[in-house]
């Protein structure tokens, strides 16, 4: 026996659903070394996020669709991907904001080896991160209380503490796309976070690491990284501050 009340509730719940096409770049090395674009048409609330659409496709249509996500709330940095040609977090991109009238393209981030579908090998990215020593370095004995810092000193590097290592910036950088040897914006941002921390004592060492032939000087100031950052970090500005520190501390 149908209950009219429930029917009505269902009808209103689906009233503003739309049909959107997701054009996803598929790659499965176990099947073929060729890349194909596959279209998925789904019915979804446009106020949902691209990540919800990917879930819907994976759970209801094609279980082989492979992508990373963990927190689903823009904190873990797992699901950076190229959506309509721009690097974004799938979990922070609402479908209504990216024109669902046309097919929405979803690709893996560029410049890193694609392992399967939207999953890339993040190892080169993390290696560059490790290389800038992203941890507090101090000398002398361990203090008996916290290392205090003034509010202004904390403010100096506040912006670069926000990085979630999603690789949206580094994989949006045309210099990184070329050979993957450039340290990349994310590594420089994380070096910045310690170089300008008054408690840290290895700033000079980190600057020297970034004075490399593939360090900050390869930055061409295209601002792709700043546009791509899902956390709104002024990435290009941070890179310029590192360049300036390298020059002013040497001359």
């Amino acid at each position: 026996m149908a209950t009219p009340v429930m029917d009505k509730a269902q009808a209103t719940a689906t009233a503003d659903y739309i049909t959107a096409t997701f054009r996803i770049r598929r790659f499965n090395p176990e099947e073929s070394d060729a890349v194909i674009w596959e279209d998925f048409q789904i019915t979804i609330d446009p106020k949902e996020r691209v990540l919800d659409a990917l879930h819907k496709i994976k759970w209801d249509t094609d279980g082989t669709l492979t992508f990373r996500r963990s927190c689903a709330h823009g904190i873990c940095g797992s699901d950076a991907m190229r959506i309509n040609g721009r690097n974004r977090l799938a979990c922070k991109t609402l479908i209504k904001d990216i024109n669902p009238d046309k097919p929405i393209t979803v690709e893996p981030i560029k410049g890193l080896t694609v392992l399967k579908d939207l999953v890339v090998d993040m190892e080169p990215f993390f290696q560059a991160f490790r290389d800038v020593m992203p941890f507090l370095v101090t000398e002398g004995n361990e203090p008996t209380r916290e290392r205090l810092q003034s509010a202004e000193d904390r403010e100096r590097f506040d912006d670069t503490t926000k990085c979630i290592l999603c690789a949206a910036c580094t994989s949006s950088c045309p210099v990184f796309w070329n050979d993957g040897q450039y340290f990349g914006p994310a590594a420089i941002v994380n070096a910045h976070r310690f170089i300008f921390d008054s408690r840290d004592e290895a700033g000079e060492q980190r600057l020297e690491i970034l004075n490399d032939k593939d360090g900050v000087w390869r930055c061409r100031t295209t601002f792709n990284c700043t546009d791509a950052c899902p956390r709104g970090i002024e990435v290009t500005k941070a890179i310029q501050e590192v360049k300036r520190a390298l020059i002013t501390r040497r001359f």
Binding site: F27, P29, E30, D33, A34, V35, I36, W37, G111, L112, T113, V114, L115, D121, E123, P124, Q127, A128, D131, P174, V175, N178, D179, G180, Q181, Y182, F183, E208, I209, N211, D212, K213, D214, G215, W217, R218, R220, K243, L246, I247, R250
Partner: protein, 155 residues
């Protein structure tokens, strides 16, 4: 639609059983050539040179364009006599010489970074740079030679 991704670079096949996808050489591999650090390096000097020469070039190039193309009758006045008149003065000789060197070195270094960023194969990169350096050296030497040996009485 399908895209071929098997672009082998520098003769190395990008696929095998363990690496089904194109391999990107891991960055930051420490090699003998990795700089040990120590003050300045070429990339830093090159970066600084681009900014400093750029500032000087603004003055030199805009001045040059004004004199050649705008002031005093514009392009129609340019001829052998006009050039001869200007190069009679050491001031304009120096202006043109500095502009030639700065613009050539600035442009060449700019193209060097463009080649570094966009050439995919080491071989292509090497030969494009050789072509660039040859053209740069040739133009700088020829230009310098002409500025110093210009003969207004040539027949």
């Amino acid at each position: 639609m399908s895209t071929d991704t098997s672009g082998a670079i520098d003769g190395v096949t990008l696929y095998d059983v363990d690496n089904p996808a194109p391999v990107i050489e891991p960055p930051r591999k420490r090699t003998k050539k990795t700089p040990k650090g120590g003050g300045t390096n070429f990339e830093m000097i090159a970066w600084l040179f681009m900014r400093l020469s750029g500032i000087v070039l603004v003055v030199l190039v805009i001045g040059h364009l004004l004199i050649q193309l705008v002031l005093d009758g514009g392009v129609s006045k340019i001829g052998f006599a006009f050039v001869a008149g200007r190069w009679a003065s050491p001031w304009w000789q120096t202006w043109d010489l500095v502009m030639l060197w700065l613009a050539m070195l600035h442009g060449a270094n700019g193209l060097r970074t463009v080649i570094n960023d966009y050439a995919e194969r080491d071989n292509t990169r090497f030969w494009l740079k050789m072509l660039l350096y040859t053209a740069t050296v040739f133009t700088i030497l020829l230009g310098t030679l002409v500025i110093f040996t210009f003969d207004p009485n040539i027949s």
